[in-house]
Amino acid sequence: MFKSWLRNTTMATVVALAPFSAMAQAASQGGDIVVTYKDDITTLDPAIGYDWVNWSMIKSLYSRLMDYEPGTPNLVPSLAESFTVSPDGMTYTFKLRKGVKFSNGREVVASDVKYSIERAVDPKTQGPGAGFFGAIKGFEDVTGGKATTLSGIETPDAGTVVFNLSRPDATFLHVLAINFASVVPKEAVEAAAGDFGKKPVGSGTFVLKDWTIGQQLVFEKNPNYYVKDVPHIDKFTVEVGQEPLVALLRLQKGEVDIAGDGIPPAKFLEIKNSADGAKMIVDGAQLHTGYVTLNTKIKPFDNVKVRQALNMAINKDRITRILNGRATPANQPLPPLMPGYDKSFTGYAYDVAKAKALLAEAGYPNGFETTLFSTNTDPQPRIAQAIQQDLAAVGVKAEVRALAQANVISAGGTEGEAPMIWSGGMAWIADFPDASNFYGPILGCAGAVPGGWNWSWYCNKDLDARAVAADSMSDPAKSAERTATWSKIFTDIMADAPWIPVINERRVVAKSLRMGGADNIYIDPTRVINYDAIYVTK
């Protein structure tokens, strides 16, 4: 699917694909639904919002040059009508769709695209997404405070945007599809006086009608949206502050349509085995890998044999059982849904005897003592304990240190601090469906710095060079080669074993019986709940 998209782009121009054709079948129009979440919505500002709850709402409030077919990792033009890529991969030219309007009534023009991306990069915005736009010419000048506009974005006329890159970036179209590239009107941002996150204006499928802080947000369908019959529902109300257990009870009574936080682990089997349970549970794969980092800068994890031995010591099947089967064992960093996942790779099989032998070979016949960090919300400490027991079976005594998420992140980014970290609960989901997103920050040298997210502190210059080479293959004709290169990088990493890939966790959303649509639009790989595609039956 990924390849076929790339083949289209070789035609130089992509004719306006009906971006949402996939969901045209039999989705009925109309209906108001209620969605619940435990936590309040932090912000709806696309340059700032970066958690999995506001992510899907921001997706629907705004539009971007590129987007994905619902339920898939397939890129399609969205606000762009068509685009061309120069043969050297350094220039991208987009033609905007005509007549698209912001919800304040003004037409979307090319300078809005330029302004929005510059705003996301501007240090004053304090946005987390600035780094994604690093390939655009002039990026360093803006982040370094030397300029306020990106010299690499040109707008020759109101309907054309040209991006000049400073280096080829094969992920650039994905970058234009992430939330940080959402198009916003400058006048509305300025009118909101720093509070745009609570007073959003966009050109997406929905418009925010009302926000009662701490209670609810009301989203109404944008009647002028540029794709016919999208979205399907007229309105969705997000009620916040709802404990998952309470949300579930309300869902069973028919007061709630989607319980966004899913099903508490303790309740899962009961719901699953209830009469309508199977129809209420949406259980879908996401771009997620849960892993244990082995800090290559701390003894004895500097010894590759020790790292390999521990890779054989973990009973991953038991961990999937702790999660009520809502996960599958992993053997490589990439999740199965990600282009580049190697189906034939087997990794390190669970083998206690072999693990012990390898530890003895490494000079630790009686094991050693170490510390395993984990976040402190259920079920993560229980998983950490399972890992602890598995380690004990090969003679390694690990003390489990369960801390708040922020503290674990801090320990991971401090050199020499955390020997092992179980990554669960740190919401490790890819920003966009491209293998490179699983390398740079978490396995590359760039992330192995104080404050970084490469908690193995693993730095392999050779692999880094191969990663740069792969990301330079922006010629669509080389896409297969590029995916294969990435695939090999991730399986080669496993020879050095900086991680123990443990599981690929699936997300669970609970929905009422009247909600229609395939499972993959409730757990959409690029946006979690796809409010544009879901519909009410009857």
Partner: protein, 306 residues
């Protein structure tokens, strides 16, 4: 009286300053970097550094605290790190819900505590007394989240008498207020019972009885006002207790108050919000004690002469 008031205001300011200093220093001593939390995992070192600079986190701690206090004196609690909204706006939007819940909780605990305590005192040693004391013991010991879930399951899910969660009508407040009040009611029942037993053995009660007053009048007019004194003193302290309890109760019932706000902010290391809620709670506790001190002489003339 005026002097007492003045002294109290100075004390309040000092307490708030102390709370601000301790909370601030503790929060920044935590091994968690707010800039890194905001920046997320794909951020470059430059992005993190920029965010840190914009938030002023690259300044020395004391100068950061100085800036914070300076803003505080101007009534400015700062902007939330994660939400980029004024903290004051967020607290004001949620404060009415928390105050409503606390007030309702106090009504529940006082009414329930007084009634049960009085009944137990009058039926001293009997089965009713024992039942009430046992119930109060359970009320005092049961963790609030357990009480919350039990009440929710029984009265909202099974019987359907009250809504399961939310805010806005009288029906919504019943279960959260009861959850919050049960703990205090347990204490009050015990306190009132022993105070009542004391008072009922006093000479003036015997005199009143000898005068031929009805027992209802003896209890309501003579005994209860005396037995109630410790309860009044407790209510002020309870406001502080409630500030802790509302975090749990608001979470279970989806009550949109400041406890919920604090809980979410802690997880995001959103220091301005944590500071704002802590200071608001500290202010509420101090005010609660002040009110209790001011009311006590009105009810008990013996304190006035001091």
């Amino acid at each position: 009286m005026a002097l007492l008031f003045l002294r109290r205001i100075v004390q309040t300011a000092l307490i708030l300053l102390g709370v601000a200093a301790i909370t601030f220093l503790l929060l920044y001593a935590l091994p968690a970097d707010p800039a890194r939390m905001i920046a997320g995992r794909s951020a470059t070192a430059q992005t993190v550094a920029n965010i840190r600079h914009e938030l002023g986190l690259d300044q020395p701690l004391l100068s950061q605290f100085g800036t914070y206090l300076g803003n505080l004196l101007h009534g400015n609690l700062g902007r939330s790190y994660a939400q980029k909204t004024e903290v004051w706006t967020l607290i004001v939007a949620r404060l009415p819900a928390t105050l409503t819940l606390m007030l309702a909780g106090i009504v529940v605990e006082v009414v329930l505590g007084l009634t049960l305590g009085t009944i137990a005192a009058l039926r001293r040693g009997g089965p009713v007394d024992r039942l009430v004391m046992m119930a109060s013991f359970v009320g005092v010991s049961a963790p609030q989240f357990v009480v919350a879930l039990l009440l929710l399951y029984l009265f909202a899910v099974t019987l359907g008498w009250f809504p399961m969660s939310g805010y806005g009508t009288f029906a919504h407040v019943v279960l959260p207020a009861t959850t919050l009040g049960v703990l205090g009611a347990g204490w009050y029942a015990r306190m009132v019972r022993s105070a009542m037993i004391d008072v009922l053995n006093q000479d003036y009660v015997r005199t009143a009885r000898a005068k031929g007053l009805s027992s209802r009048r003896i209890i309501l007019r003579h005994a209860l006002p005396n037995a109630i004194l410790p309860v009044i003193a407790m209510i002020g302290i309870d406001i502080g207790q409630f500030m802790g309890g509302v975090v749990v109760v608001e979470a279970v019932y989806g009550w949109p108050g400041i406890g919920q706000l604090a809980w979410q902010a802690i997880q995001q290391v959103d220091i301005p919000i944590i500071m704002g809620v802590t200071l608001t709670s500290a202010l509420a506790i101090v005010l609660g004690n002040l009110i209790a001190d001011l009311i006590a002489p009105v009810i008990d003339p013996r304190i006035r002469t001091r």
